[in-house]
Symmetry: C2
Subunit: 248 residues, 2 copies
């Protein structure tokens, strides 16, 4: 099998996988990258079929992986295509799914101008864990960027992601379930929320939800903070609100 | 005031502040570093008095800061003592407080072998927001390391941090409030928890709580995950449990 090992940095596949580091390359090829045995396995477990699946020559091929799809790569190639600070030796490219049209009446999680990729990924992971699959990203980090993908820990495969134009604000959600803005102060307590579907709208930690977008919301929610702190980490606050919306 | 500007990389203060990058230097000097105008302000707001407070020559001195304590530094010095990828121009060293003896009967948050500094800092921040001030760190990242400090967003100043020896496991908590382990599956639902003080024990995402430590716990708690995911981000799961312990 050694002659099939991907070892030349000039190989077109290496160039393609490098292209997927950037948003333009991902859009053009409709693929995104996942790194690491554990992270890739979580995507495979969620039913995603990889376009490319690579294991470095010195690594074992995980028994739960589809062996017929795995290709070997040299250490140099692994280093070249990795985006991790320490290349893990496992890399996959997966197809970017085309979501169905947004179902505004069903509600879900709407992220408003969250640029931090770790926060976007963590919020997708939490939403999916609590059964919220429909997620609207409005003016946020690209959900298929490396740091977002890794932070979702596979949950991205179970989500229906809608990337919406910043200029449209919350308009695509109009006429559907009520829009409930998570705000640091002045909103309703979680116990005062009615049941039923809603859009939970979460902004960034530094800037919150843009005022014009907030004006498009039907209600506001504030998490009680008996310790008197000013705020929580944005991903933590949004995750608690997802929990309270679905589990209580 | 220009002659007071800290501009030489050979100045002993520059060497001291560099020493605070490492755990040994922090222990020896009983000081830790905070960077950034917003982060420093949150520590000052919490009532901490800085040992050193530095602003780069091109930055304004925040009006809410104690102007008599602020010293100017050159761009070279700022770069030399910064631990941020982009030095912010504001830096403070603060005294490491000596906590009172642990009050096991009052309960609190116990972190078990969490090495990730961002997770440790985020959990401290959430605990304090929900009124949990007593925090035991057992075999965890140093709470005064840069990434932990920044992730607490000032909450570190309001917490009583007990750094406990890994070898002692949960022993320092014995005889106090019940120890409740947060586990991925098989524990009680949050609604089944009795009220009253307890120690919430949270482990790392990759390894959970070490089995011998788990055996020292009185009860186990599992967050319902109707979406069927395997797990949440460790900081998110621990933060939701803190919320449920104190707010519900």
């Amino acid at each position: 099998m050694s002659d099939l090992t991907l070892s030349s940095l000039q190989n077109p596949l290496v160039k393609l996988l490098r292209d997927l580091h950037g948003v333009a390359g991902r859009r053009e090829n409709r693929q995104f990258l996942v790194e690491g045995r554990r992270a890739i396995t979580s995507f495979l477990d969620a039913g995603m079929r990889p376009v490319h699946l690579l294991a470095r020559a010195d690594e074992e091929i995980p028994p739960e992986w589809p062996a017929d799809l795995v290709r070997r790569m040299s250490a140099r190639v692994a280093e070249r295509i990795s985006q991790a600070s320490t290349p893990s030796g496992y890399l996959a490219s997966l197809p970017i799914p085309t979501p169905p049209a947004i179902a505004a009446r069903l509600g879900g999680l709407a992220l408003a101008r969250i640029a931090d990729p770790g926060n976007v990924g963590t919020l997708i992971r939490s939403a999916v864990a609590f059964g919220i699959q429909q997620i609207a990203l409005i003016g946020c980090a690209d959900p298929y960027a490396y740091k977002v993908v890794q932070a979702t820990a596979g949950a991205l495969a179970r989500a229906r992601i809608h990337q919406l134009d910043d200029a449209g604000a919350l308009t695509p959600l109009h006429g559907g379930a009520p829009r409930c803005a998570l705000v640091v102060s002045g909103g309703k307590a979680p116990s005062a929320l009615s049941s039923g579907p809603r859009w939970l709208v979460v902004g960034s930690e530094a800037h919150g939800i843009p005022p014009e977008w907030l004006a498009q919301c039907d209600e506001q929610l504030t998490l009680p903070m008996p310790g008197g702190s000013e705020s929580l980490n944005a991903a933590v606050a949004g995750s608690i609100a997802c929990y309270l919306m679905t589990v209580r």
